[in-house]
Amino acid sequence: MLGRIEGRYDVVVVGGGPAGLGAALGARDSGAERILVVDREPETGGILLQCIHSGFGLHHFKEELTGPEYAERFLERVVDHDIDVISGSYVSSVGIDSDGDKHVRILREGRGISTVESKSVVLAMGCRERTRGAVRIPGTRPSGVLTAGLAQKLVNMMGMLPGKRIAILGSGDIGLIMARRLTLEGCEVVGVFELMPYSNGLTRNVVQCLEDFGIPLHLSTTVAQIHGRDRLEKITVAPVGPGFVPDLSRAWEVECDTLLLSIGLVPENELSQSLGVELDVITRGPRVSSSMETSLPGIFACGNVLHVHDLVDFVTEEALKAGRFAGEYAQGIRRPKDNITLVPGNNVRYCVPHTLAPGREHTIYMRAKEPMKPCLIKVGDLMQRKLGFVVPAEMIMFKIKPDVLDRFHGDTLRIDILPYEKEGGR
């Protein structure tokens, strides 16, 4: 697409998935002039390109799109806005000089290594899947044990099946979607096994991806052993007792040649760490201010690198915002430092951003630790909102109006999710 990329940019965005593309558009929106998106994959669009199911874009495009459609339409907007996009390109490091300028070193397929200067940088590298090692399943190490996302790429892009008789560990949405995908491609999906007593995916996916095809979902059950020398031959599955310990006295064996792992996603922050960006131990992403700025001035973050999302539309919204602030920063606009720290309270796993400033509207993204219904979200004594339910699988998003914070004079603001009894019962 582009020849030389040497030179100076206002904003360099690391990552060409929905977060990166959104940030680039946001930066343009703020008035920043030279914007570069650096994407490591051969094609821009990120993981959306392999998510061929629909369910994307209801918020942003007001219609239900498949992943590739969402990516392509978004990319068209980016290119229309005269934003430089390079694919097959990998940011190996970002240096910050004494003037605060960022030096972004880019390895570019077929074109060698170059360094560009930028006033601000948006981190949008996305996340990766947790692997077998993360859950330490005992047994042998045959082929046929792979993450659901890799299976998705094999099937949807490379035209291969990971196997013919499939078991799935974890009921995250990717696992559920792959259960249906592989069924449609003629595989036999023998069951989905979920450690928790509830599904980690959306109800819609449990119904349309499993129940429609008669695929059993075993809750509070895990894979206790993997068998097979060269290729997976079978797995031992067992219900879990207290502390999620498999109860081997009630275990049974399932013959299969493939085990897909859909056991969670982890933000990919190697670059952020090499830069010295401060991370949140819970989200495993950067700590960010209300302008999506990390602990390093002029370095912003958004999307799954910040915290793992379940809806791409939320990624887009967050990214547009991060891009706007990164663009402002590049134009020399400095916002006063945030002076309110958000503290996750009862049944709150985390909230993003980590700090707020009065005088602006804020969007808060957060996750519950466990299901609760009905319930009440309480933001200090400032505001509260009733919700029919919360579940860990579904991110909670709400807005805090500017005038709400005007009434607040402390420095820490606690957010709680509390049980709430409807008046007069049901």
């Binding site: 629909s54 035209g159 995908r181 449609l184 491609e185 109800t203 129940e211 219904k373 579904e394």
Partner: protein, 123 residues
Amino acid sequence: MSQVEKFVCIGCPIGCPLQLTHEGQEIVEIEGASCNRGAKYARQEFTDPRRGMSTTVWIDGARWKRLPVKVSAPIPKDRVLEAAGEIHKLRVEAPVKRGDVLLRDFLGEPGVEVIACRTMARE
């Protein structure tokens, strides 16, 4: 003689257990929903359950081996596997543009098309 069908509502993550009582084709009562989406969903599932569908087809001459495609409107739920089988018989050649129509009046359903979900250049 009334009969009962059970559904799990997909409107939101609560997943209300719905009970639809019917006599023949006539719906007598829908119970279990905590909002009005539940009844609507149960009625649709009982009278004419439909599903959207997406899959991939073989493509020649492109960077990837498969082209993602979808049906332009929901099709009857009990024909989803049949639909996949039909679509998988397709083989297309790059270049393809997003929105290209590969099949019309698919499965004999008027107006239902199978369309390409992305652009793929010839390589």
